[in-house]
Structures are given as C-alpha cells and as structure tokens.
C-alpha cells in the first residue's frame, strides 16, 4: 500500500509540475508589448504618431514588417497598443517607409471613418487610393468596429528603403495624416488589411497575427 501511495504522490507531483510549466510557457508566449499612453493637449485633442516599416530589423523577427508607436516623449516604441481618452479629436500621423502592391480587395482603398472621409498624403488630400497603379498600397490603418480605414501609399520598391526600425525621415517615406473622434471607453482592435506577412500563406500569418507588428488595440478610457 505504501508503494501505491508513493506512486500516486509522484504522479500527482509530476503532473502538477508539468501543468505549472505549461501555464508559465503560455503566459510567456502571450506576453504583451507595452502600451503607449496619450493624453489630450490643451485644446482637447490627442496627437498619435506611428510609423510603418518593411523590416523591423532586429529582435526575434528582424525581417517582419511592423508598426511602431511614438511615445509623447518622442521615443519610438515597438508596440501596437496605445491608450487615449474617449470622445476627443484624434490626429494621426503615419510615417510610411515600406513599399507597396495592389490591394487584395480594392474596397480597402477607400478612406472611411475619418473627418470628411478624407486623409492627406504628403499634404495632399485623398479619399481613394488606387492601389493598382503607382507604388500601390503598402498597408492600411483600419479599425473595423468604428468603420475607420485609411490606405497608406507605398514607396518605390526600387528605392533605398529603410531596413531597420525606427526609421528616420532621411529614408524614403510618405506622410499620411487623418483625424477621427475617439469612441466611448473600450478596447478597439486595429490592424493592417494588406496581407503583408511575406512568406506566410495568404500573407496573414507572422506579423499579421502577432501583437506588436501589424495589429493591435486602441484602449479608450473615460
């Protein structure tokens, strides 16, 4: 009987250790990138600045395409999580350093959900981006739950594009600006709708399916 109790005890301990190890592994795998917190300025507006790069250039996935968020102190943070107040005007500036291609669905070439359904590309207003001509669309900044979609014009793929983030404006880039009103408090998913996970089937794996690269959340607080 003592030997049976001993076997049961050992079995339970081994299973417990394995279970705890699995939990720790999952927690580590699900580790979340940092959140950049924005507050409204004196005019009650929030200014959000992002950049999109073709290669992050370092870390565990140096070849992955990625977004970065600029913290209020000017530092670029490798994350796709940011927080801002509810019901304020949000002015977004995106420095776009990547090349482009045709959109899988040109419906995403339409600017929606911004003030006037318009955005500016290097200072020039546009409502539609024809991704079948020119440099095409590099990425989109889309938040489906609030109907926000802004296609981002690509750079010339033959140019000497930035190869490692954070990129600076000395590299070829486009500047896209738009504004929208932040919704009520909650967590809003945003993502790029260009399947830019190169090397992954349908282009929607890898960076497209990993927080901190091409999709994230906008946390809106009261």
């Amino acid at each position: 009987m003592r030997s049976m109790a001993w076997k049961v005890t050992v079995t339970v301990v081994v299973f417990a250790v394995l279970a705890v190890g699995a939990v720790i592994l999952v927690i580590n795998l699900l580790g979340s990138p940092p959140t950049v917190e924005y507050t409204a300025d004196s005019s009650g507006q929030v200014n959000v600045t992002l950049q999109a790069v073709g290669n992050y250039g370092s870390g565990s996935h140096p070849s992955w395409v990625s977004y970065l968020v600029q913290a209020p102190n000017g530092q670029w943070v490798h994350t796709t999580l940011f927080q801002l107040p509810q019901h304020v005007r949000v002015n977004v500036t995106i420095y776009q350093y990547d090349s482009g291609s045709p959109l899988r669905n040109q419906q995403l070439g339409q600017v929606t959900g911004t003030y006037g359904n318009v955005a500016t590309l290097n200072g020039k207003a546009y409502r539609v981006l024809n991704a079948n001509v020119g440099n095409g669309a590099a990425h989109t900044f889309s938040m489906p739950s609030i109907g926000l979609n802004v296609p981002l014009y690509g750079n010339n793929g033959n140019a000497n594009l930035c190869g490692a983030a954070p990129c600076t404006t000395t590299s070829p880039h486009n500047v896209i600006r738009f504004s929208f009103t932040s919704p009520g408090a909650g967590r809003y998913r945003w993502q790029c709708f260009v399947p830019c996970g190169g090397g992954y089937l349908y282009g929607n794996g890898g960076p497209m399916s990993t927080l901190g690269y091409m999709g994230g959340f906008m946390q809106v607080v009261a």
Partner: protein, 317 residues
C-alpha cells in the same frame, strides 16, 4: 402489528399497481397540459433568434415545436422518478426492498412504446425535413445552385465577402459598390451570395436566422425575408485566424424607401472607388488585380513577379 417479513413482494412494492399507474398518468397529463401551453405562449415568443425575418421566425417555431414535444417526455421521466422516490423508497426498519413483477411479455406496454416512439421520431423527421427546405432553404447556405428559393419574384442580391478579418458587402444592382455596412430593406426577399477571398469564413447573421459558409472561389447562396425593422449582429462562425473573435459587425433592416435612399447615396459616395473594383462576379477572386493572396513571389517558386500589377515589394507588402 403485522410482521413485515410476512408481507409479499407485490404489497411491499406498492400493492395495487393500477392505482399507481392511473395516478402517474393523471399527474403527467395535468402537468403537460399546463406547462406546454405556458412555455409555448409565454417563453416561446422570446426564444432566439427571434422573428426579425421569416427564416428566424421559422427557426424559433421549430425550436418551440420540438420543445413542446420533448417536454412531456421529460416530465414523464421526472414524474416517475420522483413518484418512485416518494412511494417506493425503503423505510428505516422496514423490509429490504425487492423487485416488482417483471414487465416483459406485456403486449400492451411493448406495442404502446413502439408505436409512440415511432410516431414521434417519424413525425420529427418529416417536420424537420419540411422546415429545412422552407422558406427558401430556411436561411442556410444552399451552395451555388439553390433549389429551395423564395416565392417572391423581386429578390435583392447582396454579395457577402469574407476576408481576414472582416466582412464587406457588395450591391450588384446598385452599380456594384462595396461597403462595410450591411443595410437591407424590410419585406423584401434577400439573396446573400456568400464567398471569401482568402480562407474559409462563415457568415452568421444571428437575428436574421441566416448562416452560410464563406469559401474562397465558391458562391454559397442563402435567402431570407426581413419582417421587422431593427439592427442585427453579423459574426464569423468559422475559426479563421488570430482575429477571428473580432470578426463581427452589425447590420440594419430599414424601410424599402430608406434603403433605396441609402443605396443611391452610398453608390454615389463610393463611385470613385467602385470603378477600381473588379467587375462584379459571383466569386471574388483576388487574382483579377494581381494580389492573389498566396506567397509573395520572393518566397514562392511557383509565382511569377509579372503576375503582380505593380512592382514587387522589397521589404514587406
């Protein structure tokens, strides 16, 4: 004082069996006669998915009918169980419980059991089959060549396009514009042409009672007819990747006049982009404009760079 050991098995088990049977049947009939109508008329109208469309109302009706049939069966089991606990339980200090007389060989019980269960199952098979095909396929995807169609001659076609990770909707009878909004007119037969431009999704318009898989290169047709104004939820019901859980939006049923107005305004508003979309087709193949959604050429030995309309990306997209 009688000697418990001297009592026969029949007396221990309850004495006059027919008295118990009639009592059980009376309780069962009374409870079923009370609870079935109570459920059907009080709870039934609130059973999901509601009655926003004829297909949703059909699903609600089917559930209620099945419940009304199942409830007496459930009551029969529970009543017998509770009655047995109360009437035939072993009492402290009493005789050990013994089995009752064998029921096998009772022609009436066997015939009744076979007849009742056969009638129930055959009725449910017939009822279920009939309800599945009407009205117009009961809101389910019928494939590319549906045989159960609405009787209405005027049908509004709407293409539902699933993509990782959202749905868009194309209105071919209004210039083929494509939008994030699903707006449909009341009391009008709707033909959803459901497809996907990447992986398998599933278009589940919950309150409409419509659910159809969205497969790439395939047109899956589902019909419904709204009969109430209001909003409804659309969800993807097929695990389709990391953001599957966030693949939902809402639609709205409006009056035909408001729908006409919305469609014309939206057609005009999106005209610039509609010109750039591929011609309307029952499947939405991204190859039409080059971005076929497969591996990028630099990673795919079977893809030619020339297949893409624009020059190839150096880094990412």
């Amino acid at each position: 004082m009688s000697d418990p050991q001297a009592t026969g098995p029949e007396e221990v088990a309850g004495g006059d069996d027919s008295r118990h049977w009639w009592r059980l049947i009376a309780i069962w009939v009374v409870l079923s006669a009370i609870l079935d109508p109570l459920f059907y008329f009080l709870a039934g109208p609130h059973i999901p998915p509601g009655t926003m469309t004829n297909t949703a109302a059909g699903a609600q009706f089917d559930f209620n009918v099945l419940f009304v049939i199942a409830l007496p069966v459930l009551l029969g089991v529970w009543i017998y169980m509770i009655y047995a606990f109360v009437m035939w339980r072993a009492s402290r200090g009493g005789p050990d419980p013994v089995g009752g007389p064998a029921a096998r060989g009772h022609f009436g019980i066997q015939l009744g059991w076979i007849l009742i269960t056969s009638v129930l199952v055959l009725f449910l098979a017939g009822f279920g089959t009939y309800e599945l095909v009407q009205p117009g396929g009961a809101g389910g995807g019928e494939g590319s060549s549906p045989i159960w169609t609405p009787t209405s001659k005027t049908i509004l076609p709407i293409q539902v396009i699933g993509q990782q990770w959202k749905f868009t909707y194309r209105y071919p009878t209004f210039g083929g514009f494509e939008t994030n909004q699903l707006v449909i007119p009341d009391h009008t037969s709707i033909e959803f042409n459901v497809t996907s431009l990447d992986v398998i999704h599933s278009f589940w318009a919950y309150q409409l009672g419509v659910k159809a898989d969205a497969n790439p290169d395939y047109n899956n047709v589902a019909f419904t007819t709204p009969q109430q104004l209001g909003s409804f939820t659309v969800r993807c019901a097929e695990l389709c990747g990391i953001w599957h859980g966030a693949m939902y939006n809402s639609g709205v049923v409006v009056t035909p006049q408001n729908f006409e107005s919305w469609a014309k305004v939206t057609e005009a508003r999106l005209a610039q982009n509609t010109k750039l979309l591929p011609p309307y087709a029952l499947t939405y193949t991204p190859d039409a404009n080059g971005a076929d959604g497969g591996y990028y050429p630099s990673n795919d030995p079977y893809s030619k760079v020339e297949q893409y309309g624009a020059k190839q990306p150096k880094g990412g997209a």
